[in-house]
């Protein structure tokens, strides 16, 4: 009974803390979206749903959703496929495996600002490493920041570089949970490595992958720092996503209510996608037919 009381107290304390930390700003932000205000120090005026009406009629909003989906989608596919491949290699026995595993996680430890600056320096069209390399082959440097495709490509590349180690770590942990006997039995039955991967490894990683893809999806769709540091949503809004649009509206264009409306729509969109995703791919193993 005493134990039950403690559990309940801890539960409610956690809910209360989360409510204050997450719920407070969320409610405040939703509230802001119903006002017209230039900044936090300017007078504000109730406008009801006007910010939402304006936002839904703005082609940039839809473009930002499309860009966010494209960047997230491509980055997640690359992160997951590379992450599984690297984890499979790191799961093998070889000399120096611990060291290689540690090195493989290193990019994840890099501060995003540092990673972005390093990439910018390497790709600088006038002084960068890539320019020197291309120049040695007699090839001129391209202007990656002035072309929508290359600007988006660089954002995806940096995202893959930094966050693939997260996938590697999760998949590696998942691989440890697959019983070795399954592989031994498959080997005895003459199953090829590909069939072992397809029929044992992938199903064994299902729960891990559901969580990893969910988390990576949320994080990538909400990604602000990499995009802002590398392209600021340019050129010509071609890499603008909802987080950068929300920031731009609220803090650059002096439209706090408009920025809050973007953030609220982004939250609703993500919440809906997450609910559908979890409905399609329940994390609970008993509901996965395993």
């Amino acid at each position: 009974m005493n134990q039950d009381w403690r559990v309940a107290a801890l539960f409610f304390a956690s809910v209360l803390t989360l409510g204050v930390i997450v719920g407070g700003p969320l409610i405040y932000s939703i509230g802001l979206s119903f006002y017209a205000s230039e900044s936090f120090v300017s007078p504000s005026r109730w406008v009801g749903l006007a910010n939402y009406v304006e936002l839904l009629a703005d082609p940039l909003f839809w473009k930002a959703i499309g860009n966010g989906l494209l960047i997230s989608g491509v980055a997640i596919v690359l992160q997951v496929s590379l992450g599984i491949s690297i984890a499979l290699v790191l799961n093998q026995q070889f000399f120096g495996r611990s060291l290689v595993r540690a090195v493989a996680v290193l990019p994840y430890l890099l501060p995003t600002v540092v990673a972005c600056l390093v990439v910018q320096w390497m790709l600088d069209p006038n002084y960068g490493l890539l320019k020197s390399v291309l120049s040695s082959f007699g090839i001129g440097m391209f202007d990656w920041g002035g072309n929508p495709a290359t600007a988006m490509g660089v954002i995806v590349m940096v995202s893959v570089w930094i966050w693939t180690p997260f996938v590697v770590t999760c998949v590696l942990a998942g691989l440890q949970g697959i019983p070795a006997q399954l592989y031994e039995a498959a080997h005895v039955d003459g199953a090829s490595p590909w069939k072992q991967f397809w029929h044992i490894t992938l199903p064994g990683l299902r729960s891990v992958m559901i969580v990893v893809i969910l988390l990576r999806g949320i994080w990538m769709f909400n990604k602000f720092d990499v995009i802002w540091l590398l392209t600021k949503g340019g050129p010509l809004d071609e890499t603008e996503t909802l987080p950068t649009l929300a920031f731009r509206r609220a803090f650059v264009e002096f439209n706090l209510g408009g920025g809050a409306a973007v953030a609220t729509m982004s939250f609703l969109l993500l919440a809906m996608v997450m609910l559908v995703y979890l409905r399609l791919f329940p994390i609970d193993e008993t509901r996965q037919g395993r």
Binding site: E38, S39, F40, V41, S42, P43, Q120, D124, P125, N126, Y127, L134, S135, G138, I139, G140, M141, F142, D143, G145, G146, N147, K232, G233, G234, P235, L236, F251, V252, E253, F254
Partner: protein, 451 residues
């Protein structure tokens, strides 16, 4: 069994004792911590503390502020806490401080939109009386609602820096028209492997403040209007539309002489491309001279500056910005104004010397002040400084800025600046390949939408 029970009892006692010791120690540590954290607060209750938000982050400028703060405290017993932050985060930080109920007392500020918002919100103390005591260059003593809210300390004129040695080598003259400017840039461009190895010029293109600040001097020389006297948007109406279109045509041609990466060029690159010899012209304030002296002194006698010409050779213009001090309305505003007056009296020259060429004085009397003039670098680059002074003193050269377009000082052009309407007009021209007419029309529509 008995022994075991005794042992168990001793263990329980020991565990209980450990817990008590731990809890006691934790409580003491917590109480101690609170006391230590509370001490300065309690101490501060009896002493005035002025909080200064500084966005001039060079070590020299910060050192001047630290020294002034220390001297002021020892003289008057008033503590001045200096908090330095990059200029890009000065507004969010000062705004957050107001919302948190702990506003800064004084700050350096450079963007009119931020000052206007604070003034409109009733957060600033007018500095009109202090500003009135001096003569200022063009626009140096601008007012809003009949008051000066800002005590400027520098101009950041965007002059065109050029390489004198390269001009001599090619027999070029300082351009008086756009055609001459374009011809000079073309003559100085060197291409290799299909890309520009040394640019004729650099005029940023990115959607940021550097483009708004630096790229439109030649446009301003044409004196186009964005709004009429009633704030109606007229940039796509004759004769303004043609002026914007002509400028876009010029930019399109100049762009071909620029090195790659214009969409990522910001303040730092504008300087470094010139200092490292990657471009023959750049647009920047006096900070380029400081960069030349510190990174490539060999260029120190090989550069010159000129104002941006118009298309016909009749007018010159410079884009510009300025920085200054603002005083927030707090319970100790009076003490803060007193501090600012003392600082201006005792440390203004040191402050200006901390960025000797970039802090081009806004107050005209400073140019006659022997304390300011004696700085060896100012003496060395005296002719450049005097040329810069002539731009703010005479009305021959028009000083203009995107955030100051319109019939009066207002937040509307500030929003045009912040929303990067004009940089995106350039991008539409050179990256999207839009015609100049369509690019101007698109920009005008955006300005109308902004309101």
């Amino acid at each position: 069994m008995r022994v075991n029970t005794e042992d168990q009892g001793r263990n329980e006692q020991k565990t209980s004792g450990d817990r008590r010791t731990f809890l006691g120690a934790s409580a003491s540590a917590l109480a101690g911590g609170i006391a230590v954290m509370g001490a300065p607060f309690v101490k501060a209750q009896g002493k005035t503390t002025i909080r200064f938000l500084n966005s001039e982050t060079s070590t020299e400028s910060q050192a001047v502020l630290r020294k002034a703060a220390s001297e002021y405290e020892s003289l008057y017993g008033v503590k001045v806490v200096v908090d330095s932050t990059p200029i890009s985060s000065a507004f969010p930080k000062s705004m957050a401080a107001i919302n948190a109920g702990a506003p800064y007392d004084i700050a350096t500020m450079g963007f009119i939109a931020h000052i206007l918002q604070y003034a409109r919100g009733g957060h600033l103390v007018p500095l009109t009386e202090m500003v009135k005591q001096h003569s200022w260059g063009q626009m140096g003593s601008w007012q809003y609602q009949g008051e000066n809210w800002f005590y400027p300390y520098d101009y950041n004129l965007v002059t065109m820096f050029y390489r004198k040695d390269l001009y001599e080598e090619k027999g070029l003259k300082i351009p008086n028209t756009w055609d001459e400017l374009l011809a000079n840039c073309r003559a100085l461009t060197i291409s290799k492997d299909g890309s520009v190895e040394r640019g004729g010029c650099v005029m940023p293109l990115a959607s940021d403040s550097s483009t708004n600040w630096a790229s439109f001097g030649s446009l301003f020389a044409e004196e186009p209007l964005m709004y009429d006297k009633d704030w109606k948007v007229v940039m796509d109406a004759p004769p303004n539309a043609r002026k914007y279109q002509r400028f876009l045509d010029l930019y399109g041609e100049l762009y071909k002489t620029m090195p790659p990466g214009m969409n990522n060029v910001s303040y730092a690159e504008l300087m470094s491309l010139f200092v490292t010899g990657k471009v023959a012209h750049t647009l920047y304030s006096g900070r380029v001279v400081e960069a030349i002296e510190s990174r490539n002194p060999a260029l120190a006698d090989k550069y010159g500056i000129f104002a941006s010409p118009d298309s016909s050779g009749k007018r010159k213009a410079l884009s510009y910005a300025f920085d200054g001090f603002i005083v927030f309305k707090t319970k100790q505003s009076e003490e803060t104004v007193k501090f600012l007056k003392w600082f201006l009296d005792k440390f203004y020259i040191d402050w200006l010397h901390s960025a000797w060429m970039n802090f081009q004085p806004a107050r005209l009397d400073i140019y006659e002040d022997p304390r300011w003039k004696k700085h060896p670098m100012i003496q060395k680059h005296w002719s450049t400084m005097m040329q810069m002074k002539s731009y703010i003193e005479n009305n021959d050269v028009k000083l203009a800025s995107v955030d100051l377009m319109g019939p009066s000082i207002d937040l509307r052009p500030c929003k045009v600046f912040e929303t990067n309407v004009l940089p995106e007009m350039l991008q539409n021209k050179v990256l999207r390949g839009m015609s100049s007419t369509d690019a101007v029309k698109a920009a005008a529509d955006r300005v109308r939408k902004i309101g």
